[in-house]
Every structure is written in C-alpha cells, then in structure tokens.
C-alpha cells in the first residue's frame, strides 16, 4: 500500500523534489522561513509529547531549527528524507535535554503522579486528552513512545518513522503494534474512554 502523508500539505515539500531544500542549502533565507513554517507544528508536537512541557517544547523547537540551519549544508538527502532528518535532530535534542536535566523516567513519573495513588491527578474526566496521552506515553519504552508520536500525532508514514529512528520498517510496525497494545491496556486500566 502506498504511504501517504497524514498532515495536509506535506507533499509540497516532498524531499524527492528537493528543490526547496536545495535552495535553503544555497543560502536562501526566505526558504528557511518556509521550512520552519511548514515543519514547526510536527516538531513542536513531537517535542511536547517527549518533554511534557509547552515552554520547554517551544524552546527546543527553536533549537531544532537553529540546528537545522547549522547542519543544512551537510544534509545530502541520499539516505533519508528531510523530514526524517529533521526529526532525528529533534529526537537528539530531546535526549540531550534529559541528559542535561538529569531526568530519568522514574523522576518523571514521580512528578506526574499523586503520592500513594495509582492514577495521575488529571484522570478525573474520563475522556482522552493530550495531557492523559502524555502520561500514558511516559509509561512506554522510548522507542514505542517515538513511534506513537511520529505515527499518530505528527502523521508520519512508517517509512519516515523508520528513517528517523534508524530502524527497519518491519521493526517500526512491530513497535507500533506493541505500543498500541500497551496504550490500550493503560487506558483501560485508567478507565479512560478512547473512542
């Protein structure tokens, strides 16, 4: 089955075309602005669900695009799409962020869960919200979390997710299944309606 961008307008910057990327590499600043405008939403959402904080996600989004400007001359486009490359930068920065902050998963959980309770405070309403999704994602291994965010929040096809995570497409499909199963179990446990 043919892969398709979930995000409307994604074809505009189809890296197979490459013209925009090439123009950006040639130093056309306005094209860099266009790239930012096009990709900021996906990058911001990815980072938000990685770090769970809007302000940090905003700052990291800026860093991703500044890093993009810095590294753009080295991007060849031969082995991965521009979008996948950009998400690699975002992923690395989020990892660096946690390294810098010395945050571990158990610390995150301690911050987000009430003492002595089994469920996050936000679980009073039973509908799925972005906050609940974040809490549920924290429960998943990092790879699975990335796959869920990239596939269903950002809307990337399996091929690009695989490139971003340096994995095979089959590997991503496997991670996707396991991640959805884990999420389903978590949502059932928290009695959160997900339909």
């Amino acid at each position: 089955m043919e892969e398709r961008e979930y995000q409307p307008g994604g074809d505009l910057f189809d890296p197979l075309n490459g013209d925009l990327i090439r123009r950006a590499q040639e130093g056309e600043p306005s094209v860099v602005g266009e790239l930012y405008e096009h990709y900021q939403r996906g990058i911001y959402r990815y980072l938000f669900y990685r770090v769970g904080d809007m302000q940090t996600a905003e700052d990291l989004t800026s860093e991703v695009f500044l890093r993009m400007i810095e590294k753009l001359p080295n991007y060849s486009g031969r082995s991965l799409t521009f979008k996948a490359w950009l998400f690699q930068i975002a992923r690395n920065l989020s990892i660096d962020h946690y390294r810098r902050m010395n945050i571990r998963k158990d610390v995150l959980l301690a911050d987000n869960y009430p003492e002595g309770g089994d469920e996050p405070l936000e679980m009073i309403t039973k509908d799925l919200t972005s906050e609940k999704l974040y809490h549920a994602l924290v429960e998943l291994p990092e790879n699975q979390r990335d796959v869920i965010i990239m596939r269903f929040v950002v809307g990337m096809p399996v091929r690009e997710v695989a490139q971003s995570l340096h994995k095979s497409e089959n590997s991503v499909k496997g991670l996707q299944r396991r991640a959805l199963m884990s999420l389903r179990d978590i949502l059932i446990k928290w009695e959160v309606a997900y339909v």
């Binding site: 398709r4 911001y44 500044l66 919200t129 269903f152 991640a179």
Partner: protein
C-alpha cells in the same frame, strides 16, 4: 506476528485515507484485536494536540530567516575572500620561519579586515536611555531567560527586550536613530549592525505592545530598518512611525513623517505621513487610511455609532474604551478615516486638557475665499494660511468653535500616496499593464551521477493577468533552445496542459487561467557514464507574434557528485595523514565524520576515537563510517541487549590488535542477526528484556579494548604514547 503487524498497518493506513471506510472496516472486524488498536490510534489522531501560538510562529520564522541570513553569507564571503587572497602565497612558503611570518601577516591582515568589516564602534549594539519601570532582557531570545536591565546598558543582536506595565525605554542606535518601547512591549532585537558612513542595519521583531521609531534618513545601499510583527512588517529609509501590536496579532502601523513600506503575506503598500494601515493574521493587506485625533463633547454613546461634537464615530470590536465615558464628557478619540469616509475609533479616552479640536489628514476637495473643505468637511480658513490647491494632501489641525471648525494649521505633505480604493479594477495605477509571466521562474534539479535517470521532467505555469477587459487572452509561440549540455540530450518534449507541442506551437493563455507547461528532458541512452560534473540548460521561450516581445524561462539539470570518503587512503595522502597522527593538527576528514555522526557522540563517535582507529588500527575513514552507519541502524536493538554497547564493539569485529578480522559483509550480517534476536525477545508490552542475549558477542576478541573505550570515550592515543 509480522503478518499481523502488516495487517494492522494496512488498517491504520485505511483509516488515514477515508473516515467512511474506517467505520466500515471497524464494523467488519469488530471482534478483532486490531480493531481495538485502530481505535486507540484514531483517538490519538483526533485529539486536540497543542500548537504554537501563531504570533510565536511568525516571530520565530523571522528569527530563523535572520539566523540563516547571518550564517550563510559569512561562510560564502569571508572564506572565499581569504582563500582567494592567500591561496597563492602558501606555495612559496618553504621554511618554518617563512610560514610563521606569513601566518603573522595573515593574522594582522585578517584582524584588520575583521576590524574593518565589523564596522564602527558600537554599531552592533543599541544603548538603553531614559528607562522607566520594569525592563528585562533575555540573552538567548528564549522565553525562560529574563533578567533585569537598565539605562546605560546595551543590547545586541539575538537579545529580547520587554517592558512591564507603566514602563518604557528608548533604544538609541549608533548613528542616532531611536526606538521607544512603551509599556507591555516585547521586542526581539533580531539584528543590529552598521558600517562606516553611518550605515545602519536594524531588524526588530515586535511580539506585542507599542513602539515609536524616529529613524534618521538611512545612508548606504545596505542600510535598512525593519520592524516585523506577527501579522506584518514595516520597512523604512528615514521616518517617524509607530507600531502597535494587539494580543490577537493585529498590528497597526501609523506614520508621523516620511513614508513606510508595510508588507503582509507577500503584499505591500506605502503608508504616508498621517496614514495608518492595519495588518491581521490570515487577512489580506488593508489599504492605508488617514488618521485622526478628535477631542470634543460626547453627545451620544449608544450602539456602535457615537456622536462626538457632531461627528459620527464608529465603534468596532477592537476599539479600546478607557474608563466610563458619559454624555457631556469631553473625550479624546484616536482612529482612522476609512474608504467610505467614516471615522472609526481605535481608542476613546478622557481628555487630558481643556478645549475641543483635533487633527487629521485628508485631501483638499474645495477652496473658497475664507474656507475650504478637506475630505468634504468644511473648515473656516484664517487669512495668511498656506495656499493649497484642490487635490493636495494636507494635515489640518483645528479647533471646534461655535461657528464651525477653525483651521489652526495646515501642512502640505510632500509625499503623496492616495490610498488604494480597495477595488481591483486597475484604476488605482495608471501605469498598470497586462502581464505575461512564468511561475515559478527558476527550475533547477541537482542530481548525482549515480542517481542519474534518463528522463527528467519540470513543471511550470504560464500566466496572463489582463488589466483590460477587452483583452481576455493572449496567444504566444512556445519554443526551446538547448543552451548548455546539448551533447547529453536525446530529446526535449514541451507540453501545454498535457498536450505535446511541436516547437513554435501557438498557445492561448487566458486571463488568470494558468497553462501548465511541462518540459521533459531525456538523456542519450548511449551515455554509459556522465562526466563527474556537468549541466544541461534549456531555455523555453514564449514569444508574442504580434509585438515580438519574448519571455524566457530556464530549466537546468545539474550534477556534481560529492566524493565518498575513501575506504583506503591513497599513497599520496599517506604522508599528510601521518602528520595528523603525530601532531595536534585536526584531520578535516575526521572532523567531518564527527560532525556528521554527532548523534552517536555518546557511543564513541568522537574525534579522538576516529583518529585512534585511523592511526592505530589503520582503518580508513570509509570503514569507520561503515561502523557508524551500522551502529546507527541497529542502535536501539543493540542497546536493548546491552546498554553499554559501543561503536568500538563493531570496530573490534573488523580489527583486533592491528590484525584485520571479519569483512564488512560478515559484520553487517552478524550485527543484523544480533539485532533481530533483540526484536524477538521483546515482550508484548514492550518492556525490558527477560535476559540480555548476545553475550557471546561480548566475549568476542577485542572486547578488552571496547571496555576501555566505554570508560571515557577513549581519549586520543598518539603513537608516541
């Protein structure tokens, strides 16, 4: 499991493509596990995910453009200039003393050049003057990095400044231009620079609040002064103007003196003294309107039209009304006069002083002996006031008397820009002409020799915009010329709206109905190998057979392949490379590799390690890159087996104590096998492994070295060590 993964993926893709089909599919497999998983995925897709504030997006976009602008020219001009200037001299340097001398000269000259290009003292900063209240600056431009700043301090490019309530400050640039930040203003100093001859370059991003600018007429071609807001921008050469940014991103640009070019979403308009223009996110650029100030008695304040001393004042959603004005109060109204000659209020406030009167700008419509009318409003004219003519644009200051509106002063404005009347009938610009153009104009494809395909196709559109209703279309002849690389070209096919044309075909282009032009370039099949670099350039010409005017558009296929990093160094390079192993000079190839694989830094992709593998293990950079690629590809699987797994472990398979071991084909298979075992061993919930497999890998020869590497990313070991 893999088939079920594929099945789930197919279902998920079906969901993406058609919601109706989604429901149908769900019904079909209601009892299946995949159905529940698809529901989970859909619930995530349908969530209201967080987004950046549109104002932040716009200001960040500007910031990125500035960052790109700052980065690329420096790389292009400085390096090429220095390379060009000193390249030849190196050939004559044969002794260490000579080299040192040249180095010193280069340093002195470069310092001089640097000083010259850095511009006059203080040109890269602005000084804070007359600061009042809470003033804060963020050094990084990020929102969580604020600290206090006060008068006398300076700010420079990249910093962000904000004022609190009841606070204000003036920014004074090196040649005297000033920007005033009023209360609750957030301003990014995107760029401050300058050059000799008082050449000022300023770029500001105003996120919120109000700023006033007094720009000294700019000198030099490169001088610029620009203010960007979430919804528009202002560019000036020398003027006084004000920028107000509302919470919604709506921006009001008003001009005191001179002229301002305001842009929004690709459109632009000149705003003259006495005029203002509003820009809004997602809205087309409004036309400039004349501004007014009116102080008078409030006679009616019901509904959306208030009466101030006989003038109907339109109250809109965005009108700010301060306090609680009552009938009989003297109020001060600021606003603009729209194209229907209505007075629209921006703000209504209590009057600060006695008296009634106001100021506004408009066109003289009639002139009498002791009177005149401006925009149709009659005024009493005292003797000795300036002579004006019908059609002049004037700024009038008046008082309201029992006899009528009395002119106090009348200023004839030099720069006249009559506002566009807002329609599109072309009567606003007598010079407007019909236009034929290609869009986009430039087409260039870069290919690598290895990627070369026999055919490449470009698409553009030919557009015609007519300003004359009697000319709804234009006929043009389309033809092409191969201007470069003819030896590589077998065929060029031109088509218009998918109809293949013979060269010189007549094509009809209707007003505002683009014709899709495709240019397909086929390379000669007998060319087995293209040269390392080259270019094919096709010029497509559109010619009007009546006027013989022509229009050209170029289509370029260019190839210039980067050299891959060599697996083994050539003999010629041995001596040079050995130099890097025995001195502290940094090997450019190794630096490139470290940079390209910076995401693997924590796993051993460091310059020191690269040089150790290169110098001690005699691995080529190509081989080292193989190891990096392999590690990157299977990183997560390998780390899931052993969190301490490093690139060194892969290198160890290739070489052990200087002896070459497995070939890269074998190594790839071995690592892939290891990774696939890791995948199989993941439990359904995706949690940690039951028992780390691949232990046999950890007992492979060379493990001692990998343990050593893990300690501290292996510092460089010179052969002398």
């Amino acid at each position: 499991m893999s088939k079920r993964d594929d099945y789930l993926e197919e279902m998920l893709n079906g969901q993406e493509q058609d919601v109706a089909q989604r429901n149908y599919q769900l019904g079909e497999i209601e009892s299946g596990e995949e159905s529940a998983l698809v529901k989970v995925a859909n619930s995530i897709r349908d969530l209201d995910h967080p987004e950046l504030d549109p104002r932040i997006i716009q200001s960040e976009k500007r910031r990125m453009i500035t960052a790109a602008r700052d980065r690329y020219p420096v790389r292009q001009t400085l390096t090429s200039s220095l390379n060009g200037r000193f390249k030849g001299q190196w050939l004559f340097v044969s002794s260490i003393a000579g080299a040192a001398l040249v180095l010193m000269m280069v340093f002195i000259l470069a310092s001089g050049v640097g000083l010259y290009f850095s511009g006059p003292r203080g040109a890269q900063a602005a000084t804070l003057v007359d600061g009042v209240g809470v003033l804060e600056v963020s050094d990084t431009g990020l929102a969580n990095d604020w600290h206090a700043i006060s008068s006398g301090d300076t700010v420079k490019s990249g910093q962000r400044l904000r004022t609190g309530a009841d606070s204000s400050v003036n920014l004074v640039f090196f040649e005297g231009t000033q920007a005033t930040l009023n209360p609750n203003t957030d301003l990014v100093i995107s760029k401050i620079d300058g050059d000799w001859g008082n050449e000022l370059q300023v770029e500001l991003i105003q996120n919120s609040g109000e700023t006033n600018h007094q720009v000294i007429p700019l000198k030099g071609d490169r001088a610029s002064y620009e203010v960007y807001t979430p919804s528009g921008s202002a560019s000036v050469r020398g003027t006084s103007f004000k920028v107000l940014v509302e919470d919604t991103g709506l921006s009001l640009f008003t001009v005191e003196t001179g002229e301002v070019l305001v842009m929004n979403d690709g459109a632009e308009t000149f705003v003259s003294a006495g005029q203002g223009v509003v820009t809004e996110l997602g809205e087309p650029l409004d036309y400039p309107t004349y501004l007014f100030t009116l102080q008078g008695e409030l006679l009616d304040n019901l509904g959306s039209i208030w009466d101030v001393d006989g003038v109907d004042i339109i109250i809109k959603d965005g009108t700010k009304i301060y306090g609680d004005p009552n009938i009989g109060d003297i109020v001060l109204v600021n606003g603009h006069i729209n194209k229907d000659n209505e007075w629209v209020a921006h703000t209504i406030d209590s009057a600060f002083a006695d008296g009634k009167g106001g100021t506004f700008t408009g066109m003289v419509t009639t002139i009498g002996t002791n009177s005149l009318s401006i925009n149709g409003i009659p005024f009493i004219l005292a003797a000795g006031q300036p002579q004006v003519e019908v059609g002049d644009i004037v700024r009038v200051t008046f008082t309201i008397t029992a006899s009528g509106w009395q002119v106090e002063s009348l200023v004839l404005l030099d720069d006249r820009h009559i506002p566009d009347d807002g329609d599109d009938n072309g009567d606003d610009d007598p010079d407007l002409e019909s236009e034929l153009f290609f869009h986009p104009e430039k087409h260039k494809i870069y290919i690598c020799e290895a990627e070369a395909e026999l055919a490449r196709e470009f698409t553009t559109t030919l557009n015609f915009v007519s300003v004359d209703d009697s000319v709804p279309s234009i006929d043009v002849l389309l033809d092409y010329v191969i201007t470069e690389g003819e030896e590589f070209v077998a065929e060029v096919l031109l088509s218009a709206d998918n109809v293949v044309l013979t060269p010189g075909s007549l094509v009809t282009v209707f007003d505002e109905t683009p014709v899709t032009i495709k240019v397909k370039i086929t390379l000669k099949p007998e060319l087995e190998k293209l040269p390392p670099e080259g270019e094919i350039k096709i010029k497509v010409v559109s010619r009007d057979p009546i006027t013989d005017e022509s229009l050209s558009n170029y289509f370029v296929v260019k190839w210039e392949c980067d050299e891959e990093l060599p697996d083994d160094d050539t003999d010629d390079d041995d001596e040079k490379d050995g130099h890097y192993c025995t001195t502290d000079d940094r090997h450019p190839h190794a630096l490139q590799l470290e940079d390209a694989y910076s995401d693997l830094y924590a796993y051993g992709a460091t310059y020191e390690n690269i040089m150790m593998w290169f110098c001690e293990d005699n691995l080529g950079f190509g081989e080292i890159e193989q190891a990096f690629k392999l590690f990157r590809l299977y990183k997560d699987e390998l780390l899931s087996i052993d969190p301490t797994y490093m690139i060194q472990d892969i290198i160890d398979m290739r070489v052990d104590d200087g002896v070459k071991g497995m070939g890269w084909g074998q190594i790839k298979k071995a690592v892939a096998q290891l990774a696939s075992e890791a995948m199989l061993d993941v439990d359904p919930a995706g949690k940690e492994k039951k028992e780390p497999p691949g232990k046999e890998k950890k007992e492979s020869p060379g493990k001692e070295k990998s343990e050593e590497a893990k300690n501290k990313n292996k510092p460089k070991k010179n052969k002398d060590d």
